[in-house]
């Protein structure tokens, strides 16, 4: 059972070809391009959702921060659609791989930090020392602030990976438990099935929330640094 549990997280290759590339590119097929003034229903719904998200997320930024709009909106669309597609049976979710989440988190975080250092050098360096600290505590606090700065990309990546992976594993385990309990006691199996349904609803929410949190934190780091 242990080997089967983690088999769905292996990077998919078919006859040696990495079809994981195709799987990562698949969600883009579900967002058709908007050519006309009045589009078809699918495109109109997606346009409405994206405009709502953009207004909610990007109004707090200054003019300089708003140049990051395209990056952040495509980030939340990608993570959201990838997580939601991972809830389909047997599918592979790229965001369960730590490598990919690190690849998304580190460049974005590094971008915001470097932007802050280039444009507001004094203010960025001043972040390392909160106001009003007593003099003896200063060295230790600077070390702590540096550590907390460098942990930001790690936390971003590991948060996304752990949430999605844990959700998928729970669904596998509880589904397997329901199946095994069916031959022993129907009532317990039914209760476990209810738990499975609640868990799936939670997973839908988690998929969207994680996308939102990732993007929100990046935008927060951006706000600090512009």
């Amino acid at each position: 059972m242990n080997e089967n549990l983690f088999a769905s997280f292996i990077t998919p290759t078919m006859m040696g070809l990495p079809i994981v590339v195709l799987i990562i590119m698949f969600p883009s097929m579900l967002f058709p391009s908007t050519g006309r003034l009045v589009n078809n229903r699918l495109v109109s719904i997606q346009q409405w959702l994206i405009r709502m998200t953009t207004k909610q997320m990007m109004t707090i930024h200054s003019k300089k921060g708003q140049t990051w709009t395209l990056m952040l909106i495509s980030l939340i669309m990608f993570i959201g659609s990838t997580n939601l597609l991972g809830l389909l049976p047997h599918s592979f979710t790229p965001t369960t791989q730590l490598s990919m989440n690190l690849g998304m988190a580190i460049p974005l975080w590094a971008g915001t930090v470097i932007l802050g250092f280039r444009h507001k050098t004094k203010a960025s360096l001043a972040h390392f020392l909160p106001q009003g600290t007593p003099l003896p505590l200063i060295p230790m606090l600077i070390i702590i602030e540096t550590i907390s700065l460098f942990i930001q990309p790690m936390a971003l990546a590991v948060r996304l990976t752990a949430n999605i992976t844990a959700g998928h594993l729970l669904i596998h385990l509880i589904g397997g438990a329901t199946l095994a309990l069916m031959s022993i006691s129907m009532t317990t199996a039914f209760i476990t099935f209810i738990i499975l349904i609640l868990l799936t609803v939670l997973e839908f929410a988690v998929a969207l929330i994680q996308a939102y949190v990732f993007t929100l934190l990046v935008s927060l780091y951006l706000h600090d640094n512009t």
Binding site: L30, P32, H90
Partner: protein, 88 residues
């Protein structure tokens, strides 16, 4: 009996059964031709099911169902061991 229209320009449904192997050999298998085939297929599906005035949920759910089946075929080898059999 010789065809009036040249073989290369016929559509699939108009090709006679005896001419089928030569018709397949005449198709364009260059990368550009294969990309063109994928593009044609995508636009055919898109314009028939999604780019319509009252598109429903069926257009997108057919794509998702095909995605599920594709992933099932991909992981069949591991799933084979989870069938309910007395002897695996």
């Amino acid at each position: 009996m010789a065809s009036v229209v040249p073989l290369k320009e016929k559509r699939l449904m108009e090709v006679k059964l005896g001419e089928l192997p030569s018709w397949i050999m005449m198709r364009d298998f260059t990368p550009k031709g294969i990309a063109g085939a994928f593009q044609r297929g995508y636009h055919r599906y898109y314009n028939k099911y999604i780019n319509v005035k009252k598109g429903g949920v069926a257009g997108v759910s057919m794509v998702l169902a095909a995605y599920v089946i594709f992933n099932y075929c991909r992981s069949y080898k591991e799933l084979k061991h989870e069938r309910r059999r007395k002897y695996h």
